[in-house]
Each structure stands twice: as structure tokens, then as C-alpha cells.
Amino acid sequence: MANRRDVSIVLCGQAGQGVQTVETLLTRILKIAGYHVFATKEYMSRVRGGANSTTIRVCGKRVSALVDRMDVLVPLNAGAVAHVAERLSPQTVVVGEREVIGDEAVESNRTLAVPFTEIASQIGGKIYSNVVAVGAIAGLLGLDPDAVVGYVRRYFARKSEEIVANNVKAVRAGYDAIGKLDMPDGLRLSFKPSAKVRDELLLSGAEAVGLGAIAGGCNFVSSYPMSPSTGVLAFLAQHGLEQGVLAEQAEDEIAAINMAIGASYAGARAMVTTSGGGFALMTEGVSLAGMLECPVVIHLAQRPGPATGLPTRTEQADLELALYAGHGEFPRILFAPGTLEQAFYLTQKAFDLADKYQVPAFVLTDQHLMDSYYNLKAFDPVRTKVQKHIVKTAKDYRRYELTKNGISPRGIPGYGSGLVAVDSDEHDEQGHITEDLDVRVAMVDKRLAKGEALRKDIVRPELIGPKDYKRLVICWGSTYHVVKEALGEMGRTDTAMLHYSQVYPLHPSTADLIGKARKTVVVEGNATGQFRKLIRLHAGVDATEGLVKYDGLGFTVEDVVEGLTEIAEG
């Protein structure tokens, strides 16, 4: 472990035990100190009990991917060690209460016994034990104790003086308890913090999508809470008044998307945020948006299905659902951000393109991206200017005026002297119901023409690695970092990575890029290789291999290295 370039710390405990507080405090303390930090969690669908874990990586260079490796394990309850037993190695240092760690772990691993609860009880109650743990981990990593105490004081500043004082005592006691122990070598961070990191942001995927929405001009969001999409709704609701976003919790997802479409009709930039089952309820609304040509942004945070599936876990299995959702034929755009930067800029772009082409635009994420935190360069919110794409109507305004590229100037009620009529029935140029079948054909052609027009704004996939690759590893959405780190670790000079942050329509370079490779592997978090199928259908080329995962957990770097090695050797 000595001179290790990064340290992986796993916190594990029951729901309700405060694992989240430890994660929040530690990641912020590390980030403020100038260390690159990454955190993500896996948790059960329950409010109390069970076993949840958070993995935090702290590093001398950028780090954004999940690993199996545990350098430090901090178990907070009796079942914790068993929950992550497969990830234990002889190198893992287990820090915690002896009774909690258990005999098995004590025998096979290095342990540092710190009586979190006992220390906490002496200070003022068991409730402080997770802050004792924060102090212990900070001590283990050799962080500046004053800085650690300083942040804890700030974090609890709104609480009573007594609570602040007790938390400060708790974090200091945890720190000091570690100092008294016989420390294993090499756990103290051997790399220098960077002043640049201090100027960066530390946020989650949910916050990046929320900020991107505001930057994209979003001023209306209606949704129904559903993991893992709720974070975006909560974020927009919390900042709504200050940022000019009307956030409403609808009675169901059907109401949510119909509200969003109504808001859009009246000139708002509207969004819904949902997950699989909730989105399934929205599909008729997606079709309505296609028919009315009302722009709407759909944030679809994927979790494993079918039906209720694994509510709090991750998967990339709703690509085909998003692609085909809604009866009838109409164009759409599907983004799938892989990084927090992409989550911000592509959500912003989704609003722009939805309005420009008057189509539904999707931002496809998943629990892994929603719940992942890391530090990154500050966003530039005005890189893309918000363009309204709305016209003042004239007296003879026709909402569905036939144009060459299919895009009719978009008027809204109350702005201009025309009337704005929209109808879910097939309609004429005025928006009135029609059964004139020639008009029907013209309107289908018009809607589909927009699908052609929007091709000039397709986001190019990102190629990383040698240009003269012989092997190509394709991924999409949230697997960006894990594949990138795995390929870096494998160090193969014949292999490149191709990441799609727009999965539909596919960039026209796809067939050529795949054609250049002798072997192509598509890495994705579903069982049936949905993106691989999409490539076959829309680019007319076949990837030779697929590497899939569908156990509800995100890919780890080790998963990808092992899977790609097997494929390479097979």
C-alpha cells in the first residue's frame, strides 16, 4: 500500500445509520483540502436496516470510476463486513469497533480497533459515532486536523451550539484515537494536494443534471418521485424560486408529462424527471409531445426492471424503452451523458434542441451516475446561449405551417395576434382535426423531416486512445469513466475506446469507426446488449462482442479489465 496513487475507502452500515453523513463530510473535507475525490454508493430500498455501502476514492490525480478494491473498510454495524466480504483482501485495513468487525475479519485482515460508539457515548450520545468515524478516517489519511475540525464546525453551523461542540469533540476524538494506534504503513496520503482542486466543483450526477436544466432555460418541472430520478426534482424544487423554476410534484407520471407539455405549449421550457416504471406511464405523453410538436425534456434515470425491479440499483436497460416509447412515428433525441460535465452540458443542450426541433429530447442516466460525486472544473453556464425559438404570431398564424425542413415557427398563446391551436388528432396546418388523408401524409412527412433536420446537431462519439486501433471498446452513458480507467490500466496500444453520449440518432461516423476495428466490444449495463442492437440496426454494422452486467451494481474497473481480458484472450 505504500506510495499508493489512490486510496479506496468503503463505508458500510445500515440504512439510517448515517453512512451518508460520513460520505458527505469526508468527500467535502478531502476536496477542500485539494485532493481528487470520487464517491458512489449502493443501497437497499429501505429506510432503516439492511446494508448500504459507499465507496470513496481519494487520489493525486483525477478519479471518477468505481473499483472493487478496498484499501480501507469502515464497518458501522455487525452485518457490514459480510456485506462486502467479496471485496476484502489481505491488504484491506478494517477500521472500527472490534465487536462489529467480527472474528473472521480480524483473523484475515489488518484491523484498527476504534470504539466509535463508546467514544461517542462519552461525548453526548451514540448519534455522534459516525462523526467519530469521520475523524478516525481523517486521522488514518493524515489530513490536517484543524482543517477537518473547521469543516465539521461549518457543516453543523446551523445546529445548536451544543450539537456543534459535540460534533467537533467527536471528530477530534476519532482523529486522536487513530493517532494512538500502531498505524499500518502507507495509509497516510503520500501525494500532495492541489490548489486547483480547491477551485473546482464537487457535485453529484443529479446536481449536474439539475444545474444543466437551469442553464438550459428550464423554468418548469413536473414529476412524481421515483428513485433514482427524484434528486433532480428535489434539486430544482429547492432552487426553484431563486432560479425561476416552477417545480410541481404531480399526482402521477401521466399528469407530470401532460403538465410539462401544457407548460411547453404556453412557452415554458419544461422537463420531467422519472425512472423506468414512471416513464412507462408517460409514454402516451411522449407520443403527444411528438404529435403536438411541443418541446419537452425527459430525464430518465434508469434502474433495473422489469416492473419495480431493484428500485435503488443501477442498470442501462431502458435504452430501447426510451427509443421506442410512444405510439406512432415521430423524431426524438436521446442523450446519455457519461461524465458530470456531459450531464450538465447535454441537459442544457437537450433544452436547446428540443425547442429548436420541437421534439422530445431525452437525457438518459442511471442510479450510478445520479449518485456519483467527484470534483471537476467549474461549468461555464453561458457557453451555450439560451435561444427561445418562439415567434410572435401574426393574425393568420398557422401552428403547423408546412415548411421545407418540417419545422413550423412556434407561436404560443398570448404572444402576437394569431391563435395557437394544437391537437392530438391528426390536424391540418391550423391545428384543427382532420381526416383528409393527403393532409395526413403531408403531416407525417413534415414531422419526420424534422428527424432528418436534427441530424446536423448529432453529438460526435468521443474516441480515446490510438487512432490506428485494431480493437475498439464501445460504451455509452455512465460507463465512460470505468471503461476509460480500465483501458488505461490494461495499457494495450492496439485498443481504443469509443463513448457515445448521444445514442440516438447515431452519429454517421459510426459505421466507419467500427469498420476500422478488427474486434469491437460493446460494454453496457443490461443483459441483451441493447446498444449493440441499436448499432446493428441504425449503423448497419455488427460489433463482434458484448460485455454486459445486469446484477444491479455498476461496473467496476476490475469488472471491465477482467471482461475485456477474457474477450481478448478468447
Partner: protein, 306 residues
């Protein structure tokens, strides 16, 4: 907070303009309703009520779902949003919420509002947007040719309910009053004059206003005919206090004779007001821009430095 209707009335008064009663007329258009349908008098009455209220068609948005009544917006001059079956109320709520200067009316049939859209009906009342909800209540499905609707009476025979309806009829007024709706009324397509006055009160009312309108279906409902309604309806008189919720509920649950008029009025803040979006800024959302400075300072908070 500017209330759309009141504002347009004030504007017109200041300009001294008297609106022509035919301002909502579409001229010679093809209307899909059966001859003798109760929808015709309702359409005519709605147009008259709107004209008398001096509402500018360019400030009026009609929202409907699917069904025969839901075609109404096509037959008068206005902005309209003819959406999905059962889903008129969510877009109507949102349209008003993002531009409170507009007058928003959600108009559809009993199947659309109370059946397919029942959940939205309940929660729209709780939300209390400043919209008027006109429901053509003919106790039968017209567009799909004669099946039972949520308000069909027990025993009503149809090609699907072959032994007669076995479900209790939905009572929209009682439901609305039990949810403490802001304005609850019932009218009859057979009496245009009174219906017009009720509609005017409903449209003027700030907050969600339900007007359920009895209407015979001459093609598919041979039970609830003009005569059937005529024999049963009566108007609430001055002895009824519309601020008395218990009395309103008792009147709404009468079944032998069917009262018409304004059952319940409960003035309260509208959804748009409660969102606080217009407290400091009256502009509709489409006129607003991203506040780059505020967004930049929100982004800055993620530096965790402060």
C-alpha cells in the same frame, strides 16, 4: 398578482370597447355532433358567456381531452390544446401556471374528466389552479358509441353493460365539495340563460371552478332524455348559502330531484399564487430569462468553499 380575466375586463373597459357577441364565431364549419345534441346549446352558451365577460379570444385557451364534448375547442375562436383522453386538467393547470394572464377553460365530457381523468380531477381540485372546468355530463359514452360512463345510473343498459350498470354513479359535485373545491356548480344544457350566468360566475371566480352541465345524448342515451332531466331538475334558491359546505354536500347528494345552480363557493389562493412565482415578477415564464448571475453563484456553492 394579475388575474387574467379581471385584467382583460379592466383593459376592455378602459378602452371603452364593447365586444361583439359573435367574436367567438367560427363561421361555416363542419361540426361532428349529431343533430339535436346537447353540445350545441352548451357551445352557444359558452361563447355568449365569454363575449359578455369581454374576454379576448387571443387571451383565451381552451383545453380538452377526447370525446364528443372534447371537440368543443375546435368550434369557437380561441387558442386551444386538444390533448389526450382524460388529460385535459394537467395541461390546463400548467398553461395557467406558466402564464396567469391567460383565461384557461378545460372543457370535456364526463368520461374524459371523471373516468379516464378521475385522478387528475381529484388532484386538480386540491391544487386549485385558476381555471374553469366545464364538464358535459350526458351519462353515456358518445364517441365510442353508447357504453356506460362514470355518471351513468345503475341499471342503465348498454351493449357492454348488458344487464345494466352495476357500479354506483360517480358524483362529481359531492367529490368536489368533499375536497373543499373553490367553486362547484351544476347547470343544464336545456336552460341557456341560467347556464350562461352560472358559467360567467365560474369564469370570473378566482380558483378552480367546476361546472357540471347536464346534457342529453339523443343518440345513445334513451334513459336520461330532455324530459328525464326536465322532470327532475330544480334551481337552488336564495335559502341555499353557497358558503355552507355541509349544506352544499347535502344538496349534491340528492338523487330523486337534482338541484342546479351554484352549490359551493370557497374563495382561496390559487395554485399560481401559491407557487410564489409571480409574487415579485408578473411576467409569464416565456418572457423571463436565465439569471446568469444567480446561476453562477449557485454553481459556486459547489466549490464548498464558503
Amino acid at each position: 398578482m394579475i388575474h387574467g380575466i379581471q385584467q382583460s375586463i379592466i383593459n376592455n373597459h378602459f378602452r371603452g370597447v364593447l365586444m361583439a357577441t359573435d367574436v367567438f364565431e367560427m363561421g361555416d364549419i363542419d361540426i361532428a355532433w349529431c343533430p339535436g345534441c346537447g353540445n350545441f346549446p352548451i357551445l352557444k352558451t359558452v361563447k355568449e358567456a365569454l363575449a359578455e365577460l369581454q374576454i379576448d379570444p387571443r387571451q383565451l385557451v381552451m383545453v380538452s381531452g377526447i370525446g364528443q364534448a372534447a371537440k368543443t375547442p375546435h368550434y369557437l375562436k380561441c387558442h386551444f390544446f386538444n390533448g389526450l383522453h382524460g388529460r385535459a386538467l394537467p395541461p390546463a393547470t400548467a398553461i395557467k401556471a406558466v402564464n396567469p394572464k391567460l383565461t384557461v377553460i378545460a372543457e370535456s365530457g364526463d368520461g374524459d374528466m371523471y373516468g379516464e381523468g378521475g385522478n387528475h380531477f381529484i388532484h386538480c381540485i386540491r391544487r386549485n389552479p385558476d381555471i374553469t372546468n366545464i364538464v358535459h355530463d350526458n351519462m353515456v359514452y358518445g364517441l365510442t358509441k353508447g357504453q356506460a360512463s362514470p355518471t351513468s345510473r345503475r341499471g342503465f343498459k348498454t351493449p357492454v353493460q348488458v344487464a345494466g350498470v352495476i357500479l354506483e354513479p360517480f358524483n362529481p359535485l359531492a367529490v368536489a365539495i368533499s375536497l373543499d373545491a373553490s367553486f362547484v356548480a351544476r347547470a343544464s344544457s336545456g336552460d341557456r340563460e341560467q347556464t350562461k350566468e352560472i358559467l360567467k360566475r365560474a369564469i370570473r371566480h378566482k380558483g378552480y371552478a367546476l361546472v357540471d352541465i347536464f346534457q342529453p345524448c339523443v343518440t345513445f342515451n334513451k334513459l336520461n332524455t330532455y324530459q328525464w332531466f326536465k322532470d327532475r331538475v330544480y334551481y337552488l334558491d336564495d335559502s341555499h348559502d353557497p358558503s355552507d359546505r355541509t349544506a352544499a354536500f347535502a344538496r349534491a347528494t340528492e338523487t330523486d330531484r337534482l338541484p342546479l345552480g351554484v352549490f359551493y363557493v370557497n374563495p382561496k389562493d390559487s395554485f399560481e399564487e401559491n407557487t410564489q412565482m409571480y409574487r415579485q415578477d408578473e411576467r409569464p415564464l416565456h418572457q423571463r430569462d436565465v439569471d446568469a448571475r444567480k446561476l453562477a453563484s449557485l454553481i459556486d456553492t459547489f466549490k464548498m468553499a464558503g
